[in-house]
Homo-oligomer: 216 residues x 2
């Protein structure tokens, strides 16, 4: 569970974080990951919903998707998750940057077997929509058959965190400009009923918890 040479951070190595708790926290806050694979030397990157399941990351998609078919053959994959946490206004364009937390996982995906698929879909659903799984009907056999779930082990990874203030050189500190950070976050607005929602279907507490969870 330690980063290896090819995942060592080369740029701004002081921003590399090596503890697995930070990796897990970054992944656990992510609803989607950028998943990279290559076909005949052409890289492709596609966004996919993701959820951590212990020491691995679950991805799911349609059984018919090219990405799923390529990855299920054991092709190398790179999964990238990034959270932007703020705009960093330095005294120069050169030092201006962003606050961010990013995780990169290299590895090979394996197909989640049929007998594990229900568990994997529960983990994914509960990660994306916490509290929802228990109130939904069970998946139908044809829905399970139409869904591919992949598991990527969290064996080879790197994490980079930029969480500070502008790091201007001394010679720039007297520049006549403001310097600081504008924090960013994801906010959730009030739930909107589906147009075809029937009567007596109130918004459940777990949905209200998502909406109020951003502190705004």
């Amino acid at each position: 569970m330690t980063p290896r040479e090819r995942t060592d951070v080369r740029r701004l190595p002081e921003k590399q974080v090596r503890d697995v708790a930070t990796l897990h926290a970054i992944l656990d806050e992510a609803l989607q990951a950028a998943v990279g694979f290559q076909v005949d030397g052409q890289p492709f990157v596609l966004p996919m919903a993701c959820a951590r399941d212990g020491g691995s990351l679950l991805l799911h998609g349609s059984t018919g998707s090219r990405l799923m078919r390529v990855l299920a053959t054991g092709a190398p994959v790179c999964v990238s998750v990034t959270h932007l946490d703020g705009l960093v206004y330095a005294r120069s364009a050169f030092e201006s940057s962003m606050r961010y937390r990013s995780a990169t996982v290299l590895g090979t995906a394996t197909l989640v077997a049929d007998e594990e698929k229900l568990h994997a879909l529960e983990v994914l659903t509960e990660h994306l929509l916490p509290g929802r799984w228990a109130e939904l009907r069970a998946p139908r056999a044809r829905e399970l058959a139409a869904t591919t779930v992949l598991r990527v082990p969290l064996d080879e990874w790197s994490v980079k965190v930029g969480d500070g203030f502008p790091d201007d050189p001394d010679e720039d500190l007297d520049e006549p400009v403001w310097a600081g950070v504008v924090p960013m976050r994801v906010a959730y607005d009030d739930p909107v009923d589906a147009p075809d929602l029937g009567p007596d279907r109130p918004v459940p507490p777990h949905v209200l918890a998502v909406t109020s969870g951003d502190g705004s």
Copy 2:
């Protein structure tokens, strides 16, 4: 400026959008992109700041970064931008999804020449920190030398938008659960001064405009 075969959307093709204005809008809202490349068959995906400059996308990074060196050789690249706009609560796990807007650009990057670099950095800075460029000192020669800027033409791309409500089959409409959408957005909080900020350096209006721009 039209998508080609290898960028055609294969899954949920009804979500593919082919007009360039939507592509531009998605890119113009993005502060970072997931940039994919491959080395010896291993895909890598790294987050990078990005900005559209007319019919191309600018990326910048350190002259010493591996990504920059690989891409500057004319290696194939894939740039992916995704905005999550909401959680879609359907009546089944299978139909549950997210609202999103995603753009994928395939191509080859070219190095921005020295004489264009200042323009490119202005475009990047003004995209990420609107209004900031004019109040900053000019970049120093060694800062320009330490920065590589790449340009990826927006020639081959695809856009996918999921902006609707749950699309449950009729047989599920009587399920005894709420269904609907929880909208998501990026919110900006109040600016925080740098700890080493000198006196008489008020937060400029362009920064306050970012903070108030999220409507909260």
